[in-house]
Amino acid sequence: MTAEHRLAWWPRREGGLASDYVGQGSQFYGLYARELIKTFRNPWVLVITLVQPFMWLAFFGSSFATVSTSALDSLLHAPPGTGYLQFLLPGVLSTSMLSIGMFGSMSTIQDKRFGFMKRVLLTPTGRSTVYLSKALGSATRGMVQIPVMICAAYVFGVRFEGTPLMWAGWLLGLILLGFGFSAFFLAVTASSTDWQTPGVLSNFITMPLMFASGALFPAQNYPTWMQAIARVNPVGFSALLGRGILVSGTANWAYLGYLGIFAAIMVGVGTLVASRYLKVE
């Protein structure tokens, strides 16, 4: 990439000149399908994706097993008889969306290192098309966990509230969260070719966003500075939306709106960044 290319505010390449425009639908479909085929063809990716949330519930969810329900309810600021698993499930699904972007960005770096990115970019495929297919691909991969997790919770004896419409809204919120974080990861690592970058980035953002979110413990127990982070943390929006629906059958749709804004900003900014900085090799 040349210096003037870097300094330009707007991507010069894609759609920059009407006479060079080539539609991107077919390429997006091909690349997105490739992501899915590769995921479902690798049994280990599936096994880990499925087992990991189950482990969360089994180990983390059991860590309050001997605490009396009333003591737990007052600690969680939850209605009487909630129990930790019911409280935890929406939070765990939300935090697991934090790490799915890591796999998308690792597979992108692999494509760069093996030259596959070059093969793609030597066809009439825009950098932003590659980016969007990767982001949606890893978000889709993350969705696989949701039904598994809910079934697992049923096995553990948890029962949920909420209407089908509320559930649909909650799932949409999770999809937006996953899409937003995948978009974020891929944009930050767009110019990277180092295997380690996604892992480092994941470690860096996971802890603060996971704990300062209200996903695992109620934010009411936090000090004020952590509550301040929780108020703008999309993981928290998703966890609180889900918890409202699953625990008390009430949906605060404002959270869904915030998640929509979060995803739109991440995908929008990410597409711009990737269309200029996505490295070829």
């Binding site: 091909g30 690349l31 596959f116 009439p124």
Partner: protein
């Protein structure tokens, strides 16, 4: 649309201080095989990047298949195929799935019949549903060429197509590249640092060194420019230039590494005198270069192709590492 497959004027690429491609002029006729011959690091791969729209030129312009590489890179990419030095395929997908993906990326409809023909042509039909990761090197190379041909491109770029391959596979590939060029009527631009490859395959050759075209022409034209032989000698003890220049028939003497390259009227005339003039066992190795593309390169740059630029072995190692990392 112009009659030429590739035209470049003043094509230049600088990376900071380094000028990788320096005012290159090209005019490649349709339907031929054009070779960029030069040592590693001469700028061959950069020229391919510029011509395929992967990288923007610092100065100059180029058209490929009639489209401007700077203003219409997407249209250029619809009309070119690409074969990598290290064979790049998606190893997790089958041969047929790789073709399917290529068809999607090139926005093709009704591609299946052509894909079947290509599989048949490259004798891959019965392996089409196998993962390409399980293919042999020769089959992978064929698969890659099939991908490059699927969308009926006007120009195919081949970057060091036979690097790191064993001689049998290399000869098979030469035949294939020739065949592809003739049967599919596609223009081929290939880079190589193998003299015999350029000689065997190319209608036209451009010899490139330090980003500049130092000579262009058909292999026969280039060779006819040379009426001298070259002696490439390696000695165990230092030998002085004046001593060498005094020998009969020596026109020039240039030192290179541990030895010398002598430009001589005829090797047969100089050799006996050379051995007579130096103490016994001083000469450890002698290469005689009769007029060839190699001697053209030596004549212009004063170096052998495989000694100019980087170490050839590095590429081979790189290729092996890529293969290993995939497994």
């Amino acid at each position: 649309m112009s009659e030429s497959a590739i035209v470049a004027h003043g094509l230049t690429k600088r990376y900071g201080e380094l000028t990788a491609v320096d005012h290159v002029e090209m005019d490649v006729a349709r339907g031929g095989v054009f070779g960029l011959l030069g040592p590693n690091g001469a700028g061959k791969t950069t020229i391919i990047k510029l011509l395929t729209g992967l990288s923007d030129p610092t100065a100059g312009e180029a058209t490929v298949a009639g489209f401007d590489v700077r203003r219409q890179p997407m249209h250029v990419k619809q009309n070119i195929g690409w074969v990598a030095a290290e064979v790049i395929l998606d190893d997790d997908l089958s041969g047929w799935e790789n073709l399917w993906l290529q068809a999607k990326l090139q926005r093709l409809s009704g591609w299946k019949e052509r894909a079947e023909q290509l599989l048949a042509y490259f004798e891959l039909t019965d392996r089409r549903t196998d993962r390409v990761g399980a293919y042999s090197t020769g089959m992978r190379k064929k698969m890659e060429i099939a991908l490059a041909l699927l969308h009926q491109p006007k120009v195919i770029f081949m970057d060091e197509p036979t690097i790191g391959l064993d001689p049998n596979v290399r000869r098979m590939l030469w035949k294939l590249i020739r065949g592809v060029n003739q049967e599919f009527g596609v223009t081929v631009l290939l880079t190589s640092h193998y003299i015999e490859e350029a000689d065997a395959l190319c209608d036209h050759v451009a010899i490139i060194d330090h980003g500049k075209f130092v000579a262009t022409g058909t292999p026969a034209e280039l060779k006819s420019r040379i009426r001298n032989d070259f002696l490439d000698i390696e000695t165990s003890a230092p030998v002085s230039e004046s001593q060498l220049r005094a020998l009969p028939g020596v026109l020039e003497a240039r030192s290179q590494g541990k030895g010398w390259i002598l430009k001589v009227g005829s090797a047969e005339e100089t050799l006996p005198a050379l051995f007579a003039a130096l103490p016994e066992h001083t000469i450890q190795r002698v290469n005689i270069e009769k007029p060839s593309l190699e001697s053209v390169f030596i004549d212009i740059t004063g170096k052998r192709i495989d000694q100019a630029g980087g170490d050839v072995q590095d590429f081979r190692k790189f290729y092996l590492n890529v293969r290993r990392a995939r497994q």
